[in-house]
Amino acid sequence: MPPVLTFSTARLALSRRALLAAGAASLLPACAERPFGEPDRATLTRVAQDLFPHPPLSAAPYGAIVEAGFPVSADPKTLADAATAARSLGKFADLAEAERRAMLGPRLSEPFFIGFRFAVLTGLYTDVAVTRRFGYQGPSLADGGYLDRGFADLPWLPGPGAEASRWPV
């Protein structure tokens, strides 16, 4: 599995309910017979978009996260789990947005979707091509920081004088 899925911060998303659910993974349908394929990728890409939707973005960055998480070279169990999870959602991508959300909510405490949510969150919000569209610029060292690139710009509020830098206060 890629490091992003095994990263221990995934635990941030674990709740007591999730821990209980981890023991109930057998509730999922038995291991899929067909290998993880294009329809499954499409379903998980739709799930990724629904988890953290940003209307200006195409499906591409979400699809890339699914691709990175479940490449053909991934171990068989990872792919089987992904296929099982995707198929358990049925014709998810054909549903209306509200129906998809209603279906997804209760599933997010399952171990697969806890890991998947974490992978989408960290994959999407560390993708500088994505976050630049929100105004986040990423690493700044190579550009000399923001000292000469607008760190003090706040034209819509009055700037404080020296009283804002008194010490001690």
Binding site: A13, S15, F52, Y125, F134, L157, P160
Partner: protein, 517 residues
């Protein structure tokens, strides 16, 4: 390298306390053996990407969290976010170098007897410590002190200041920061890069990695051993410290003879090491005849408020915590709690904000908030957390580290006063952003603790404390404890400056040196 059988002065931990002490003692002509569990990571290797940096710098060895706090369910194996690397948590601290208020060092006298809390007065007053704060501020290059100019206010700080004025606050500043505003101490001026918590890539921020340790190395008297994990402190028949057992990177164990041991491993590991060092003379753990080792573990009461503003803020540009409101740090029991809290403007990257604001957040509303990133502003609360005797570090009976030793179990049940202070902060911080036109304000609480205090309380009475006001263990000759574990109470301010002031006081006395006039 000093001979393993030659009794040495051994410092355990190279962070704010250990790094400072190693520098002062070697400068005074003493030989020092410095043991650091982490490896050396040079500033050029730091990552300006939160998750990569987290993996690079964090203490990821297992611990166990129990109790009512959220770490017990959301981060059960990682209750604290601290650094495992040369320089310790001075690599990821924000550089906020504040002195506590006089009444905070007299917490028991100032707040009275609070049910469920184990309040104590510090055995030192702020006046007694003042000269050591002056020295600490000069060493760290704290802006607004020592003739050092404050930084130019960033946009994020200007926004905080405007909101604070709307609420009628008057104690607001962007000074008191151990981040160079001018070239000083062989370190450059800040370039307003952001990423202060990921290790400053240009060392504008003070750290023992960038400042004290290289100086100690240049003295020729520092014997630095990295990836050296102390696992036991031994004593002789007379009860005096005699050695430190440590494991190297391969797990092989070594015994360094010692005449003096300064323990500064951050509160959780400091308590764990004392508990691991039980002996027939100290059956409950070294220096633990009082039963106080591990008790009164405190974090700060931490919370976050983020708001979507009517226009751009770009909070990622510049110093991560660019300024603070001190008005709510006062002790004013009419608010329903004792002590107070700081309101610290705090930039956060999209990924950290999405992880922390709501650990289970998803959907169009949550993503929409993150997507307004360049309009977001936010702050962290740093509030005084009351000491509670049963909030404590013990040895876990099941989980073992790579050396087969029991890991620290960190138990916290939050005092009832915590919820009252949190609500006050959420109300005031929301009011601040609304006063500037925000109609979308959100709150959260970080899961893991970054300030770890208490666990080896300083006091005059050996029955109720572990070390005396000289940081000497009551029960073990030659053993000193010098990190935040000795704090009897947490105060409302970030702890590093106080840790350095206490460490300087100890080091000067060990060196037989007097304070510069």
């Amino acid at each position: 390298m000093a001979g393993l059988t030659d009794p040495a002065l051994v410092v355990i931990g190279s962070g704010a306390a250990g790094g400072t002490i190693a520098d002062v003692l070697t400068a005074a002509g003493k030989q020092v053996v410095l043991l650091e569990a982490g490896r050396r990571i040079e500033p050029a290797e730091f990552h300006q990407e939160d998750l990569k940096s987290f993996g690079q710098l964090s203490w990821l060895d297992p611990r166990v969290a129990t109790g009512s706090w959220s770490a017990a369910t959301l981060a059960p194996d990682r209750p604290a976010w601290v650094v495992k690397a040369l320089g310790g948590s001075t690599n990821h601290w924000n550089g906020l170098a504040y002195r506590p208020q006089p009444h905070e060092l007299r917490a028991r006298a100032s707040y009275g007897n609070i049910a469920g809390a184990s309040l104590a007065d510090w055995p030192l007053t702020l006046a007694q410590l003042a000269p050591w704060y002056v020295l600490a501020e000069a060493r760290l290059g704290v802006t607004g002190t020592s003739g050092i100019a404050p930084h130019q206010p960033s946009a994020h700080y200007k926004l905080l200041w405007n909101g604070a004025r709307k609420l009628g606050y008057s104690r607001i500043s962007n000074a008191g920061m151990a981040i160079n505003s001018i070239e000083r101490d062989g370190r450059p001026a800040c370039r307003q890069m952001g990423f202060c918590n990921q290790g400053c890539g240009i060392s504008a921020k003070w750290s023992t990695l960038a400042s004290d340790i290289p100086r100690a190395e240049a003295s020729g008297r520092l014997d630095l051993r990295t990836e050296a994990t102390a696992i036991r402190i031994e004593h002789d028949r007379a009860g005096k410290v005699s050695a430190v057992i440590y494991a190297d990177a391969s797990g092989a164990q070594h015994r360094q003879a010692a005449h003096t041991v300064v323990l500064a491993a951050n509160s959780i590991e400091t308590a764990r090491l004392l508990l691991l060092s039980e002996s027939s003379r100290h059956p409950a753990g070294l220096a633990n005849g009082s039963g106080q080792v591990g008790r009164n573990y405190m974090r700060h009461i931490a919370a976050l408020t983020y708001a979507a503003m009517p226009d751009r803020v770009n909070m990622h540009r510049g110093i991560v915590t660019p300024g603070t409101i001190f008005d709510e740090a006062r002790h004013d029991p009419t608010r329903g709690f004792s002590g107070g809290y700081l309101m610290e403007a705090a930039g956060m990257s999209p990924v950290s904000l999405a992880l922390l604001l709501n650990p289970a957040g998803w959907g169009p509303d949550y993503a929409g908030f993150i997507g307004r990133y360049d309009h977001l502003a936010g702050m962290l609360m740093n509030g005084e957390e009351l000491p509670v005797a049963d909030n404590r570090i013990t040895l876990d009976d099941k989980v073992k580290d790579r050396l087969g030793l029991p890991v620290a179990r960190v138990h916290v049940d939050e005092h009832t006063q915590t919820a009252t202070m949190l609500k006050h902060f959420f109300d005031r911080s929301a009011a601040l952003y609304r006063a500037l036109g925000s109609n979308d304000v959100r709150h959260g609480r970080p899961v893991s603790a970054t300030h770890n205090l208490g666990t080896a309380r300083m006091g005059n009475d050996p029955a109720t404390s572990v070390v005396d006001s000289e940081l000497a263990a009551h029960e073990v000759s030659g053993l000193y404890i010098a990190d935040g574990s000795v704090f009897p109470t947490s105060t409302s301010v970030n702890p590093t400056l106080t840790i350095v002031a206490l460490a300087l006081r100890l080091a000067y006395r060990q060196a037989g040196a007097t304070l510069p006039a």
